[in-house]
Symmetry: C2
Subunit: 258 residues, 2 copies
Protein backbone atom coordinates (compact mmCIF):
# COMPACT_ATOMS: atom_id res chain seq x y z
CA UNK A 1 0.00 0.00 0.00
CA UNK A 2 1.31 3.43 -0.90
CA UNK A 3 1.10 6.54 1.26
CA UNK A 4 1.62 6.70 5.00
CA UNK A 5 3.69 4.03 6.70
CA UNK A 6 2.41 1.06 8.64
CA UNK A 7 2.59 2.92 11.94
CA UNK A 8 -0.23 5.19 10.78
CA UNK A 9 -2.59 2.24 10.71
CA UNK A 10 -3.87 -0.27 13.21
CA UNK A 11 -5.32 -3.73 12.75
CA UNK A 12 -8.25 -4.26 15.09
CA UNK A 13 -10.09 -7.45 15.87
CA UNK A 14 -13.92 -7.70 15.92
CA UNK A 15 -16.49 -10.44 16.59
CA UNK A 16 -14.05 -12.05 19.02
CA UNK A 17 -11.38 -12.38 16.38
CA UNK A 18 -13.57 -13.61 13.53
CA UNK A 19 -12.55 -10.65 11.35
CA UNK A 20 -10.09 -7.76 11.40
CA UNK A 21 -10.14 -4.19 10.27
CA UNK A 22 -7.37 -1.95 8.95
CA UNK A 23 -7.99 1.60 10.22
CA UNK A 24 -6.08 4.88 10.27
CA UNK A 25 -4.65 5.49 13.75
CA UNK A 26 -6.18 8.95 13.82
CA UNK A 27 -9.70 10.23 13.19
CA UNK A 28 -12.96 8.35 13.53
CA UNK A 29 -12.50 4.72 14.53
CA UNK A 30 -15.15 2.06 14.07
CA UNK A 31 -16.64 0.47 17.12
CA UNK A 32 -19.93 -0.47 18.65
CA UNK A 33 -22.07 1.61 16.28
CA UNK A 34 -20.92 -0.37 13.27
CA UNK A 35 -21.40 -3.69 15.08
CA UNK A 36 -24.93 -2.76 16.22
CA UNK A 37 -25.85 -1.60 12.72
CA UNK A 38 -24.62 -4.88 11.22
CA UNK A 39 -26.80 -6.78 13.70
CA UNK A 40 -29.91 -5.15 12.17
CA UNK A 41 -29.55 -7.41 9.12
CA UNK A 42 -31.48 -10.70 9.49
CA UNK A 43 -29.13 -13.63 10.11
CA UNK A 44 -30.70 -15.52 7.22
CA UNK A 45 -30.11 -12.67 4.79
CA UNK A 46 -28.79 -13.72 1.40
CA UNK A 47 -28.08 -11.51 -1.59
CA UNK A 48 -26.17 -8.28 -2.11
CA UNK A 49 -25.84 -5.70 0.64
CA UNK A 50 -24.43 -2.19 0.22
CA UNK A 51 -22.58 -0.67 3.18
CA UNK A 52 -23.01 3.03 2.31
CA UNK A 53 -20.22 5.24 3.64
CA UNK A 54 -18.44 2.09 4.73
CA UNK A 55 -15.25 3.69 5.99
CA UNK A 56 -12.78 0.89 6.61
CA UNK A 57 -15.62 -1.61 6.26
CA UNK A 58 -16.49 -2.41 9.87
CA UNK A 59 -20.25 -2.78 9.49
CA UNK A 60 -20.08 -4.52 6.12
CA UNK A 61 -17.49 -7.01 7.32
CA UNK A 62 -19.56 -7.63 10.43
CA UNK A 63 -22.54 -8.53 8.21
CA UNK A 64 -20.30 -10.83 6.15
CA UNK A 65 -19.08 -12.44 9.38
CA UNK A 66 -22.56 -13.11 10.77
CA UNK A 67 -24.58 -13.71 7.58
CA UNK A 68 -22.86 -16.49 5.69
CA UNK A 69 -25.04 -16.04 2.58
CA UNK A 70 -24.46 -12.29 2.28
CA UNK A 71 -22.38 -10.61 -0.42
CA UNK A 72 -21.20 -7.17 0.55
CA UNK A 73 -20.18 -4.06 -1.38
CA UNK A 74 -18.34 -1.50 0.74
CA UNK A 75 -19.15 1.93 -0.74
CA UNK A 76 -16.74 4.64 0.40
CA UNK A 77 -15.86 8.06 -1.02
CA UNK A 78 -12.53 8.66 0.75
CA UNK A 79 -9.60 7.08 -1.16
CA UNK A 80 -7.72 6.58 2.10
CA UNK A 81 -10.60 4.75 3.79
CA UNK A 82 -11.35 2.71 0.66
CA UNK A 83 -7.68 1.69 0.62
CA UNK A 84 -7.98 0.60 4.26
CA UNK A 85 -11.02 -1.47 3.30
CA UNK A 86 -9.20 -3.09 0.36
CA UNK A 87 -6.16 -3.77 2.52
CA UNK A 88 -8.38 -5.35 5.16
CA UNK A 89 -9.68 -7.83 2.58
CA UNK A 90 -6.12 -9.06 1.96
CA UNK A 91 -5.51 -9.99 5.61
CA UNK A 92 -5.19 -13.75 6.12
CA UNK A 93 -7.63 -13.54 9.06
CA UNK A 94 -10.33 -12.27 6.70
CA UNK A 95 -9.73 -14.96 4.07
CA UNK A 96 -13.09 -16.67 4.57
CA UNK A 97 -15.05 -13.44 4.23
CA UNK A 98 -13.01 -11.71 1.55
CA UNK A 99 -14.45 -13.71 -1.34
CA UNK A 100 -17.91 -12.28 -0.53
CA UNK A 101 -16.84 -8.65 -0.09
CA UNK A 102 -15.64 -5.97 -2.50
CA UNK A 103 -14.97 -2.23 -2.39
CA UNK A 104 -16.53 0.51 -4.52
CA UNK A 105 -14.95 3.95 -4.29
CA UNK A 106 -17.98 6.22 -4.81
CA UNK A 107 -19.81 9.15 -3.25
CA UNK A 108 -23.11 8.03 -1.72
CA UNK A 109 -24.69 11.45 -2.31
CA UNK A 110 -24.41 11.24 -6.11
CA UNK A 111 -27.73 11.09 -7.92
CA UNK A 112 -29.18 10.17 -11.30
CA UNK A 113 -26.80 9.16 -14.07
CA UNK A 114 -23.71 10.14 -12.07
CA UNK A 115 -24.65 7.65 -9.37
CA UNK A 116 -25.25 4.86 -11.86
CA UNK A 117 -21.95 5.63 -13.61
CA UNK A 118 -20.18 5.52 -10.25
CA UNK A 119 -21.30 1.90 -9.91
CA UNK A 120 -24.52 2.29 -7.91
CA UNK A 121 -27.15 1.03 -10.36
CA UNK A 122 -30.85 1.16 -9.61
CA UNK A 123 -32.34 -1.90 -7.92
CA UNK A 124 -29.00 -3.68 -7.73
CA UNK A 125 -28.93 -4.47 -3.98
CA UNK A 126 -31.15 -6.43 -1.60
CA UNK A 127 -30.25 -4.42 1.48
CA UNK A 128 -28.47 -1.17 2.34
CA UNK A 129 -26.95 -0.21 5.68
CA UNK A 130 -25.56 3.15 6.73
CA UNK A 131 -23.80 4.64 9.71
CA UNK A 132 -23.71 8.25 8.55
CA UNK A 133 -20.31 9.83 9.36
CA UNK A 134 -21.89 12.92 10.93
CA UNK A 135 -22.35 10.82 14.01
CA UNK A 136 -18.68 11.07 14.85
CA UNK A 137 -18.00 14.82 15.24
CA UNK A 138 -21.20 15.15 17.24
CA UNK A 139 -19.84 12.94 20.01
CA UNK A 140 -18.57 16.01 21.79
CA UNK A 141 -21.15 18.41 20.40
CA UNK A 142 -23.07 20.87 22.52
CA UNK A 143 -26.88 20.82 22.37
CA UNK A 144 -26.74 23.76 19.95
CA UNK A 145 -24.35 21.92 17.68
CA UNK A 146 -26.52 18.82 17.80
CA UNK A 147 -29.50 20.92 16.85
CA UNK A 148 -27.54 22.41 13.97
CA UNK A 149 -26.42 18.97 12.84
CA UNK A 150 -29.98 17.73 12.91
CA UNK A 151 -30.99 20.66 10.73
CA UNK A 152 -28.14 20.02 8.31
CA UNK A 153 -29.49 16.52 7.99
CA UNK A 154 -33.03 17.71 7.51
CA UNK A 155 -31.77 20.14 4.92
CA UNK A 156 -30.54 17.52 2.58
CA UNK A 157 -27.58 15.37 3.51
CA UNK A 158 -29.55 12.58 5.17
CA UNK A 159 -32.12 12.92 2.42
CA UNK A 160 -29.35 12.38 -0.15
CA UNK A 161 -28.13 9.23 1.54
CA UNK A 162 -31.65 7.82 1.77
CA UNK A 163 -32.43 8.74 -1.84
CA UNK A 164 -29.45 6.64 -2.90
CA UNK A 165 -30.45 3.78 -0.59
CA UNK A 166 -34.00 3.77 -1.95
CA UNK A 167 -32.75 3.87 -5.55
CA UNK A 168 -30.27 1.01 -5.32
CA UNK A 169 -32.47 -1.36 -3.34
CA UNK A 170 -34.94 -3.75 -4.98
CA UNK A 171 -38.67 -3.67 -4.12
CA UNK A 172 -39.07 -5.35 -0.70
CA UNK A 173 -35.36 -4.71 -0.12
CA UNK A 174 -34.20 -3.62 3.31
CA UNK A 175 -32.56 -0.60 4.88
CA UNK A 176 -30.96 -0.16 8.28
CA UNK A 177 -29.58 3.11 9.67
CA UNK A 178 -27.88 3.91 12.97
CA UNK A 179 -28.01 7.54 14.08
CA UNK A 180 -28.42 9.84 17.04
CA UNK A 181 -31.87 10.30 18.62
CA UNK A 182 -31.78 13.94 17.47
CA UNK A 183 -32.15 12.63 13.92
CA UNK A 184 -35.24 10.53 14.64
CA UNK A 185 -37.67 12.94 13.05
CA UNK A 186 -35.60 13.58 9.93
CA UNK A 187 -34.95 9.87 9.59
CA UNK A 188 -38.58 8.78 9.91
CA UNK A 189 -39.63 11.53 7.48
CA UNK A 190 -37.10 10.55 4.85
CA UNK A 191 -37.63 6.82 5.30
CA UNK A 192 -41.42 7.11 5.35
CA UNK A 193 -41.40 8.93 2.03
CA UNK A 194 -39.03 6.51 0.28
CA UNK A 195 -39.51 3.18 1.99
CA UNK A 196 -42.63 2.01 3.79
CA UNK A 197 -42.94 0.58 7.22
CA UNK A 198 -40.16 1.22 9.68
CA UNK A 199 -39.14 -0.30 12.99
CA UNK A 200 -37.20 1.58 15.63
CA UNK A 201 -34.85 0.31 18.34
CA UNK A 202 -33.43 2.86 20.80
CA UNK A 203 -29.96 2.07 22.16
CA UNK A 204 -29.38 3.04 25.80
CA UNK A 205 -25.95 3.05 27.51
CA UNK A 206 -27.65 1.87 30.75
CA UNK A 207 -31.22 0.86 31.54
CA UNK A 208 -31.89 4.17 33.30
CA UNK A 209 -30.23 6.57 30.82
CA UNK A 210 -31.62 8.27 27.70
CA UNK A 211 -30.89 6.65 24.36
CA UNK A 212 -27.59 7.56 22.70
CA UNK A 213 -28.38 5.95 19.37
CA UNK A 214 -31.38 4.81 17.37
CA UNK A 215 -31.50 2.03 14.81
CA UNK A 216 -34.26 2.28 12.21
CA UNK A 217 -34.98 -0.59 9.84
CA UNK A 218 -37.37 -0.42 6.91
CA UNK A 219 -38.50 -2.58 3.99
CA UNK A 220 -39.06 -0.90 0.66
CA UNK A 221 -42.73 -0.97 -0.33
CA UNK A 222 -44.06 -2.49 2.89
CA UNK A 223 -47.10 -0.74 4.32
CA UNK A 224 -47.36 -0.97 8.06
CA UNK A 225 -47.43 1.47 10.94
CA UNK A 226 -44.17 2.35 12.69
CA UNK A 227 -43.11 -0.23 15.27
CA UNK A 228 -41.05 0.57 18.34
CA UNK A 229 -39.18 -2.52 19.51
CA UNK A 230 -37.78 -3.04 23.00
CA UNK A 231 -34.56 -1.08 23.43
CA UNK A 232 -31.02 -2.41 23.35
CA UNK A 233 -29.36 -1.68 26.70
CA UNK A 234 -25.57 -1.86 26.51
CA UNK A 235 -24.21 -1.89 30.07
CA UNK A 236 -25.29 -2.79 33.58
CA UNK A 237 -24.91 -0.34 36.46
CA UNK A 238 -21.28 -1.36 36.98
CA UNK A 239 -20.49 -0.58 33.35
CA UNK A 240 -20.27 -4.23 32.31
CA UNK A 241 -21.58 -5.13 28.85
CA UNK A 242 -24.89 -6.97 29.24
CA UNK A 243 -25.19 -10.48 27.72
CA UNK A 244 -27.60 -9.51 24.93
CA UNK A 245 -25.51 -6.47 23.97
CA UNK A 246 -22.37 -8.62 24.04
CA UNK A 247 -23.99 -11.17 21.74
CA UNK A 248 -25.15 -8.46 19.34
CA UNK A 249 -21.83 -6.64 19.24
CA UNK A 250 -19.93 -9.88 18.73
CA UNK A 251 -22.05 -11.19 15.88
CA UNK A 252 -23.87 -13.86 17.90
CA UNK A 253 -27.37 -12.35 17.86
CA UNK A 254 -29.66 -10.22 15.74
CA UNK A 255 -30.86 -6.82 16.89
CA UNK A 256 -34.42 -7.43 15.62
CA UNK A 257 -34.49 -11.09 16.69
CA UNK A 258 -34.31 -12.44 13.13
CA UNK B 1 -78.43 14.61 36.88
CA UNK B 2 -80.87 14.46 33.98
CA UNK B 3 -80.79 11.94 31.16
CA UNK B 4 -80.13 8.23 31.44
CA UNK B 5 -80.66 6.50 34.75
CA UNK B 6 -78.03 5.55 37.29
CA UNK B 7 -77.64 2.05 35.84
CA UNK B 8 -76.13 3.56 32.70
CA UNK B 9 -73.18 4.85 34.69
CA UNK B 10 -70.48 3.31 36.83
CA UNK B 11 -68.32 4.77 39.54
CA UNK B 12 -64.77 3.50 39.26
CA UNK B 13 -61.93 3.84 41.70
CA UNK B 14 -58.40 4.94 40.68
CA UNK B 15 -55.07 5.54 42.45
CA UNK B 16 -55.99 2.84 44.99
CA UNK B 17 -59.17 4.64 45.96
CA UNK B 18 -57.78 8.16 46.17
CA UNK B 19 -60.28 9.38 43.55
CA UNK B 20 -63.32 8.12 41.66
CA UNK B 21 -64.66 8.56 38.19
CA UNK B 22 -68.25 8.60 36.90
CA UNK B 23 -68.29 6.97 33.47
CA UNK B 24 -70.95 5.78 31.03
CA UNK B 25 -71.28 2.00 31.19
CA UNK B 26 -70.88 1.75 27.43
CA UNK B 27 -68.31 3.14 25.04
CA UNK B 28 -64.72 4.08 25.73
CA UNK B 29 -63.73 3.66 29.37
CA UNK B 30 -60.75 5.33 30.95
CA UNK B 31 -57.93 3.17 32.18
CA UNK B 32 -54.20 2.84 32.09
CA UNK B 33 -53.65 5.30 29.24
CA UNK B 34 -55.11 8.17 31.24
CA UNK B 35 -53.12 7.19 34.35
CA UNK B 36 -49.84 6.96 32.41
CA UNK B 37 -50.50 10.32 30.74
CA UNK B 38 -51.15 11.96 34.11
CA UNK B 39 -47.82 10.58 35.37
CA UNK B 40 -46.00 12.63 32.69
CA UNK B 41 -46.67 15.79 34.71
CA UNK B 42 -43.86 16.60 37.19
CA UNK B 43 -44.92 15.85 40.76
CA UNK B 44 -43.91 19.36 41.81
CA UNK B 45 -46.09 20.97 39.13
CA UNK B 46 -48.08 23.96 40.31
CA UNK B 47 -50.36 26.17 38.25
CA UNK B 48 -53.16 25.54 35.79
CA UNK B 49 -53.32 22.40 33.69
CA UNK B 50 -55.74 21.77 30.82
CA UNK B 51 -56.86 18.19 30.21
CA UNK B 52 -57.84 18.47 26.53
CA UNK B 53 -60.53 16.01 25.48
CA UNK B 54 -60.85 15.05 29.12
CA UNK B 55 -63.79 12.65 28.76
CA UNK B 56 -65.00 11.88 32.27
CA UNK B 57 -61.82 13.47 33.65
CA UNK B 58 -59.63 10.44 34.39
CA UNK B 59 -56.26 11.95 33.45
CA UNK B 60 -57.00 15.39 34.90
CA UNK B 61 -58.23 13.96 38.20
CA UNK B 62 -55.15 11.73 38.33
CA UNK B 63 -52.97 14.84 38.02
CA UNK B 64 -54.98 16.53 40.76
CA UNK B 65 -54.54 13.43 42.91
CA UNK B 66 -50.76 13.26 42.51
CA UNK B 67 -49.82 16.95 42.17
CA UNK B 68 -51.19 18.72 45.21
CA UNK B 69 -50.38 22.18 43.82
CA UNK B 70 -52.10 21.64 40.46
CA UNK B 71 -55.34 23.27 39.37
CA UNK B 72 -57.10 21.39 36.59
CA UNK B 73 -59.54 22.39 33.87
CA UNK B 74 -61.25 19.41 32.23
CA UNK B 75 -62.00 20.42 28.62
CA UNK B 76 -64.56 18.18 26.96
CA UNK B 77 -66.82 18.66 23.93
CA UNK B 78 -69.40 15.93 24.61
CA UNK B 79 -72.21 17.17 26.90
CA UNK B 80 -72.68 13.64 28.25
CA UNK B 81 -69.00 13.21 29.15
CA UNK B 82 -68.77 16.74 30.58
CA UNK B 83 -71.78 15.89 32.74
CA UNK B 84 -69.99 12.74 33.95
CA UNK B 85 -66.97 14.88 34.82
CA UNK B 86 -69.12 17.42 36.73
CA UNK B 87 -70.95 14.63 38.53
CA UNK B 88 -67.61 13.07 39.49
CA UNK B 89 -66.58 16.32 41.17
CA UNK B 90 -69.62 16.08 43.47
CA UNK B 91 -68.68 12.64 44.83
CA UNK B 92 -67.73 12.74 48.51
CA UNK B 93 -64.64 10.65 47.73
CA UNK B 94 -63.35 13.42 45.46
CA UNK B 95 -63.97 16.20 47.99
CA UNK B 96 -60.30 17.00 48.52
CA UNK B 97 -59.59 17.30 44.80
CA UNK B 98 -62.80 18.91 43.65
CA UNK B 99 -61.86 22.40 44.81
CA UNK B 100 -58.92 22.40 42.42
CA UNK B 101 -60.79 21.03 39.38
CA UNK B 102 -63.43 22.48 37.07
CA UNK B 103 -65.08 21.50 33.79
CA UNK B 104 -65.18 23.48 30.53
CA UNK B 105 -67.53 22.20 27.83
CA UNK B 106 -65.65 23.16 24.67
CA UNK B 107 -64.33 21.69 21.42
CA UNK B 108 -60.55 21.40 21.49
CA UNK B 109 -60.31 21.81 17.71
CA UNK B 110 -61.75 25.34 17.71
CA UNK B 111 -59.32 28.04 16.61
CA UNK B 112 -58.87 31.79 16.75
CA UNK B 113 -61.63 33.89 18.25
CA UNK B 114 -64.02 30.94 18.53
CA UNK B 115 -61.57 29.11 20.75
CA UNK B 116 -61.04 32.13 22.99
CA UNK B 117 -64.80 32.68 23.23
CA UNK B 118 -65.26 29.03 24.17
CA UNK B 119 -63.09 29.67 27.22
CA UNK B 120 -59.66 28.65 25.96
CA UNK B 121 -57.73 31.93 26.09
CA UNK B 122 -54.18 32.27 24.79
CA UNK B 123 -51.39 31.65 27.32
CA UNK B 124 -53.81 30.82 30.11
CA UNK B 125 -52.42 27.41 31.15
CA UNK B 126 -49.08 26.16 32.44
CA UNK B 127 -49.45 22.66 31.08
CA UNK B 128 -51.70 20.77 28.67
CA UNK B 129 -52.25 17.02 28.52
CA UNK B 130 -54.12 15.03 25.91
CA UNK B 131 -55.15 11.45 25.32
CA UNK B 132 -56.66 11.87 21.87
CA UNK B 133 -59.89 9.84 21.57
CA UNK B 134 -58.89 8.32 18.24
CA UNK B 135 -56.82 5.89 20.30
CA UNK B 136 -59.91 4.02 21.32
CA UNK B 137 -61.50 2.82 18.06
CA UNK B 138 -58.05 1.79 16.83
CA UNK B 139 -57.73 -0.81 19.54
CA UNK B 140 -59.15 -3.40 17.22
CA UNK B 141 -57.98 -1.76 14.00
CA UNK B 142 -56.25 -3.64 11.22
CA UNK B 143 -52.87 -2.40 9.97
CA UNK B 144 -54.64 -0.65 7.08
CA UNK B 145 -57.03 1.10 9.45
CA UNK B 146 -54.12 2.17 11.64
CA UNK B 147 -52.38 3.55 8.60
CA UNK B 148 -55.53 5.43 7.65
CA UNK B 149 -55.91 6.77 11.19
CA UNK B 150 -52.32 7.93 11.16
CA UNK B 151 -52.99 9.77 7.92
CA UNK B 152 -56.14 11.33 9.30
CA UNK B 153 -54.01 12.63 12.13
CA UNK B 154 -51.36 13.92 9.79
CA UNK B 155 -54.06 15.54 7.71
CA UNK B 156 -55.20 17.82 10.45
CA UNK B 157 -56.94 16.48 13.50
CA UNK B 158 -53.81 15.98 15.58
CA UNK B 159 -52.51 19.26 14.22
CA UNK B 160 -55.67 20.98 15.45
CA UNK B 161 -55.30 19.58 18.94
CA UNK B 162 -51.65 20.62 19.12
CA UNK B 163 -52.43 24.07 17.72
CA UNK B 164 -54.82 24.60 20.61
CA UNK B 165 -52.34 23.21 23.14
CA UNK B 166 -49.60 25.53 21.88
CA UNK B 167 -51.92 28.53 21.93
CA UNK B 168 -53.26 28.10 25.45
CA UNK B 169 -49.94 27.29 27.10
CA UNK B 170 -47.57 29.98 28.40
CA UNK B 171 -43.95 30.22 27.16
CA UNK B 172 -41.98 27.41 28.88
CA UNK B 173 -45.29 25.70 29.54
CA UNK B 174 -45.54 21.95 29.16
CA UNK B 175 -47.35 19.44 26.98
CA UNK B 176 -47.81 15.71 27.34
CA UNK B 177 -49.53 13.42 24.85
CA UNK B 178 -50.20 9.69 24.88
CA UNK B 179 -50.78 8.05 21.52
CA UNK B 180 -50.09 4.97 19.45
CA UNK B 181 -46.62 4.39 18.00
CA UNK B 182 -48.13 4.80 14.51
CA UNK B 183 -48.59 8.48 15.35
CA UNK B 184 -44.97 9.08 16.35
CA UNK B 185 -44.01 10.84 13.16
CA UNK B 186 -47.08 13.08 13.00
CA UNK B 187 -46.70 13.86 16.68
CA UNK B 188 -43.03 14.80 16.53
CA UNK B 189 -43.68 16.90 13.41
CA UNK B 190 -46.54 18.81 14.97
CA UNK B 191 -44.82 19.21 18.34
CA UNK B 192 -41.48 20.20 16.83
CA UNK B 193 -43.15 22.99 14.86
CA UNK B 194 -45.14 24.39 17.80
CA UNK B 195 -43.17 23.50 20.91
CA UNK B 196 -39.43 22.94 21.11
CA UNK B 197 -37.59 20.04 22.62
CA UNK B 198 -39.47 16.81 23.11
CA UNK B 199 -38.85 13.68 25.12
CA UNK B 200 -40.27 10.29 24.19
CA UNK B 201 -41.13 7.29 26.36
CA UNK B 202 -42.33 4.12 24.64
CA UNK B 203 -44.77 1.97 26.62
CA UNK B 204 -44.36 -1.80 26.18
CA UNK B 205 -46.88 -4.39 27.44
CA UNK B 206 -43.97 -6.74 28.22
CA UNK B 207 -40.20 -6.28 28.04
CA UNK B 208 -39.97 -8.33 24.84
CA UNK B 209 -42.97 -6.90 22.95
CA UNK B 210 -43.24 -3.86 20.65
CA UNK B 211 -44.54 -0.64 22.17
CA UNK B 212 -48.32 -0.20 22.28
CA UNK B 213 -48.23 3.46 23.29
CA UNK B 214 -45.88 6.40 23.22
CA UNK B 215 -45.80 9.34 25.61
CA UNK B 216 -44.26 12.54 24.26
CA UNK B 217 -43.56 15.47 26.55
CA UNK B 218 -42.41 18.90 25.36
CA UNK B 219 -41.75 22.34 26.80
CA UNK B 220 -42.83 25.36 24.78
CA UNK B 221 -39.85 27.35 23.55
CA UNK B 222 -37.16 24.97 24.79
CA UNK B 223 -34.46 24.18 22.26
CA UNK B 224 -32.92 20.79 22.68
CA UNK B 225 -32.62 17.70 20.57
CA UNK B 226 -35.21 14.93 20.95
CA UNK B 227 -34.55 12.66 23.90
CA UNK B 228 -35.63 9.04 24.08
CA UNK B 229 -36.02 7.94 27.69
CA UNK B 230 -35.98 4.34 28.92
CA UNK B 231 -39.31 2.66 28.17
CA UNK B 232 -42.12 1.94 30.57
CA UNK B 233 -42.71 -1.81 30.68
CA UNK B 234 -46.13 -2.70 32.08
CA UNK B 235 -46.18 -6.44 32.84
CA UNK B 236 -43.80 -9.28 33.59
CA UNK B 237 -43.90 -12.53 31.63
CA UNK B 238 -46.68 -13.88 33.84
CA UNK B 239 -48.84 -10.83 33.11
CA UNK B 240 -48.32 -9.26 36.53
CA UNK B 241 -47.99 -5.48 36.68
CA UNK B 242 -44.36 -4.56 37.36
CA UNK B 243 -43.58 -2.42 40.44
CA UNK B 244 -42.62 0.74 38.51
CA UNK B 245 -45.69 0.49 36.29
CA UNK B 246 -47.87 -0.10 39.34
CA UNK B 247 -46.42 2.99 41.04
CA UNK B 248 -46.96 5.11 37.92
CA UNK B 249 -50.51 3.90 37.30
CA UNK B 250 -51.44 4.41 40.95
CA UNK B 251 -50.11 7.95 41.25
CA UNK B 252 -47.03 7.04 43.32
CA UNK B 253 -44.32 7.83 40.73
CA UNK B 254 -43.58 10.10 37.81
CA UNK B 255 -43.11 8.76 34.29
CA UNK B 256 -40.16 11.09 33.60
CA UNK B 257 -38.68 10.75 37.08
CA UNK B 258 -39.63 14.28 38.15
Amino acid sequence: MTGPGAKDFTIDSFHRGRFRLVQPSRGHRAGMDAMILAAAVPGSFSGWLADLGAGAGAAGLAVASRCSQARIRLVERSPQMAECARRGLTLPENRELAGRVDVLEADVTLSGRARVEAGLADRSFDFAIMNPPFNAPADRATPDELKRLAHVMEDGLLEGWLRTAAAIVVPRGGLAVIARPALLHALISAIGARFGSAALIPVHPRADAPAIRIVVRAWRGARRALEIHPPLVLHDEAGKLLPQADAIINGRASLFGD
